[in-house]
């Protein structure tokens, strides 16, 4: 698909920066506002077949190998990648990573005193199908404290990185779980000013009878910036 226009960010959707309670944003956010430029060819293009470069198909984080099941509550996250016209984005690369059930990442710089799970790495990568759909089997991540002076805990969340049809539709975001009381206290979740935009970061839980016995089901759609060119009429 080809993106050919991009409306500006609607108000209230972009996180407020620097972000209250998140000290790192005060040392990393540029002091000079960014220069608004009209998108040109470099911004409207992206690799057509990134899946050849970034191997896709790793959609089961819950099972490391036969007989090696991660510790935690098994869940399935399904959704679609859409553009601003609500059209599905086929063949987008979707990366998902998260902490284990104890809230620890399999990463050398996460040195927190919580157990690693030898059966959980916690990252996957897939390519959306022709209807923009993706799905991952995983476990519900644990909450974890952020090293900080303000006793800040991140609620359970899943990181998403999406590489779509244009550089300007590149998106990195996080997904939250419905009804988690920790959401209300999170500085990152609450950096999004618009309540409806925050709500769209929370997955919807499916009734168990619609899912099956092995796992709990969540649905989460992600909308990339940009509008596609009108398809040519045959």
């Amino acid at each position: 698909m080809r993106i050919d226009s991009i409306p500006p960010w609607p108000e209230g959707i972009e996180p407020q920066v620097p972000t209250e309670g998140y000290a790192g944003t005060f040392t990393h956010t540029p002091a000079v506002p960014p220069i608004r430029r009209p998108p040109g060819r470099t911004e409207l293009t992206a690799p057509r077949d990134l899946a050849a470069k970034l191997p896709c198909g790793d959609d089961n984080l819950a099972v490391l190998a036969p007989g090696r099941m991660a510790l935690g509550q098994y869940i399935h996250i399904a959704g679609r990648i859409l553009d601003e016209d609500a059209r599905p984005v086929p063949h987008a690369v979707v990366e998902l990573w998260q902490a284990n059930a104890a809230g620890r990442y399999f990463h050398p710089i996460d040195t927190r005193d919580a157990p690693l799970d030898p059966d959980f790495i916690g990252n996957g990568r897939i390519r959306t199908d022709a209807e923009g759909r993706f799905g991952f089997f995983t476990i519900r991540p644990g909450a974890y404290p952020v090293p900080s002076k303000n006793n800040w805990w991140r609620p359970p969340h899943v990181h998403f990185s999406v590489l779509g049809p244009a550089s300007l539709s590149r998106l990195v975001t996080q997904m939250y779980f419905p009804g988690d009381p920790m959401n209300a206290y999170d500085h990152i979740f609450n950096s999004v000013p618009d309540a409806a935009a925050r709500e769209r970061l929370i997955a919807r839980q499916l009734p168990p009878h619609e899912v099956g016995l092995g796992w709990l089901g969540f649905v989460h759609d992600i909308v990339l910036r940009g509008r596609a060119a009108t398809p040519e009429q045959p």
């Binding site: 959707i13 990393h28 608004r36 009209p38 077949d49 470069k53 990463h107 990195v172 769209r200």
Partner: protein, 200 residues
Amino acid sequence: MSRALPTSQHTIGPFFPRTYFGPTDHDLRRRTATAAPSPRGEAIRIAGRVTRAGGEVCVNALLEAWQADAGGHFDHPADPDVGAADPEFLGWGRAATDAGGRYHFLTLLPGGYAEGSHRRAPHVNLQIMASGLMRPVLTTLFFPAFTAENAADPVLAMVPEGRRGLLLAQAEGDSEGLRCFRFDIRLRGDPAEETPFFVE
């Protein structure tokens, strides 16, 4: 057509998995991990450091690069002469900063291209994501030798004159037969030193 509102951006956080990286992800010349690098152009190395306020280094920041091929084309339907694009060149790469805040890419020197009534100078777009950055930042690297092309580039012209030099990579000699360019990214600092960033 029904409208959908874009999903909010969030920080990539400190723990973007190292397990995601393949050995040639930082090499824009290769379409796959095992493909040979495209030979159609001058191979170059782009390297630098990512720093934040106070000149402190940023560790495990993610950089993604995107550029035209040596002939100034993209293998993408938005290119008016897509058939002329290099069939082996990818033009995209990603790298994470190490404990010293350093990154590097291998690529081909990009070509410029005509767009509307303007001509774009050779450039590389860089997107930087890091813990502490709630929104990714976008910048564009230009090459110092293209004085006339840079002077006519419409994007560089949008940058206040005194800050344009911050978008020029510095030639740093040769290493293993490749010309090297240094491009440091200062996320936050004195406006005279902070890297100019863009938003679309």
